[in-house]
């Protein structure tokens, strides 16, 4: 029996429940290809958002003498993928500089997982990201961005060099490739599911 007046609050509520946002972080050293990867898999041109460093949570140790400089901002590039109506996946490139760890903390909260992009020419640059996600038990995969003209290493060599647990997927990729980006994200979600003891795709996948 349809009432003459539609129940507006209930409609609003059902619309709310149908919109879910998830986030995945893309970390790695400066120039490892974070924004490139975000752009390759996003449906929109990567966006940039800024966070003011004058907010609560700003580290107090290394700002001595710069208190007057209130408007320091840290920029984050991000993209969005609409997975189905009402389900949006956001990809955030983490700010590269070490002094922005507290922004990472905020970003990492509630994240589905992370992709750590590694550049074999500067493998050490990815150590801090690996440490960060290991310590916080955030599921992550390591993606070796195969830049043109660089020697291609076997994933196992990279795993050994980064001292990764055997369970952490190490993949080779081209950060510019949409297909590679998709595969990375799928592997990450599968890894996150496995880490949580779930098997979302069932036995059918084997």
């Amino acid at each position: 029996m349809a009432s003459a007046h539609s129940d507006a609050p209930a409609d609003t509520r059902s619309a709310l429940f149908s919109s879910v946002a998830l986030k995945i972080l893309v970390a790695g050293g400066f120039g490892a290809g974070k924004t490139t990867l975000v752009g390759a898999v996003s449906e929109i041109r990567p966006l940039r958002t800024e966070e003011l460093l004058s907010e609560r949570g700003r580290p107090v140790d290394d700002t001595a003498g710069v208190e007057a400089k209130r408007s320091t901002t840290v920029a984050m590039d991000f993209g969005r993928i609409d997975l189905r109506p009402g389900l949006a996946l956001y990809l955030f490139g983490t700010p590269g500089q070490d002094r922005f760890w507290f922004v990472w903390d905020e970003l990492a909260q509630g994240a589905l997982g992370a992709v750590v992009l590694a550049d074999t020419r500067r493998l050490a640059d990815s150590f801090p990201s690996v440490d960060f996600f290991e310590q916080r038990r955030i599921p992550f995969v390591v993606a070796v961005n195969c830049f043109e003209g660089t020697e291609v290493y076997a994933p196992e060599d990279v795993r050994a060099a980064l001292d990764l647990d055997p369970g952490i997927p190490v993949l080779l990729c081209d950060a510019r490739s949409r297909e590679d980006g998709k595969e990375l994200l799928i592997r990450l979600v599968e890894h996150a599911a496995a880490q949580a003891g779930l098997d979302p795709m069932g036995a059918a996948r084997g």
């Binding site: 940039r48 958002t49 003011l52 004058s54």
Partner: protein, 165 residues
């Protein structure tokens, strides 16, 4: 120096006569008064100048309130409620508030997207969204708490969605 300039001025004109009013090298763009200009073109100042309006004045000096803690996560989805043009009659709202409402009227947008499209730091957007929330003009959906117990169905949807890209 003056010799050089004089020489340039007195240079003999070679070639056929050309109408000085029909200069083929005149690359001055014609001004189109009828095409709406993009926001970027309207910004005649560059980023080095800093914001024309000080950010703290946009929030009237306010910072995000503790009561809103966690409400406006970067990926919290914000949607304008259809309040029948009520926003027009809210005296406390300014153009930026209305701009935010217009952005999320047709589809929910994340706090991060709103900041990016408005060209404002997220911390400023949070304060303005707090005003809109107080006025009942938006609904806010916090992100799913995935941290320790992800939802199997949700992960399946994510994987299938990624495969279908």
């Amino acid at each position: 120096m003056s010799d050089g300039m004089a020489a340039e001025d007195d240079a003999p004109q070679d070639g056929p006569y050309e109408d000085p009013y029909d200069d083929p090298y005149d690359t001055e763009p014609e001004i189109d008064l009828f095409t709406p200009r993009s926001a970027a073109e309207d910004r005649w100042f560059d980023d080095e100048a800093g914001p024309v309006v000080r950010l703290f004045s946009m929030t009237r000096g306010r910072a995000a309130r503790p009561v809103d803690e966690g409400l406006f996560d970067l990926i919290s989805l914000v949607r304008a409620t259809d309040a029948g043009g009520r926003a027009e009659h809210e005296p406390a709202l300014d153009a930026t508030h209305h701009g935010l409402l217009a952005l999320c009227r047709d589809q929910p947008l994340s706090v991060a997207e709103l900041g990016s499209y408005c060209d404002l730091p997220v911390s400023v957007v949070r304060v303005l969204l707090g005003d809109l929330n107080d006025a009942g003009l938006i609904t806010v959906t916090r992100p799913v708490a995935l941290a320790h117990r992800p939802d199997e169905q949700l992960l399946r949807d994510v994987i299938n969605g990624l495969r279908a890209l």
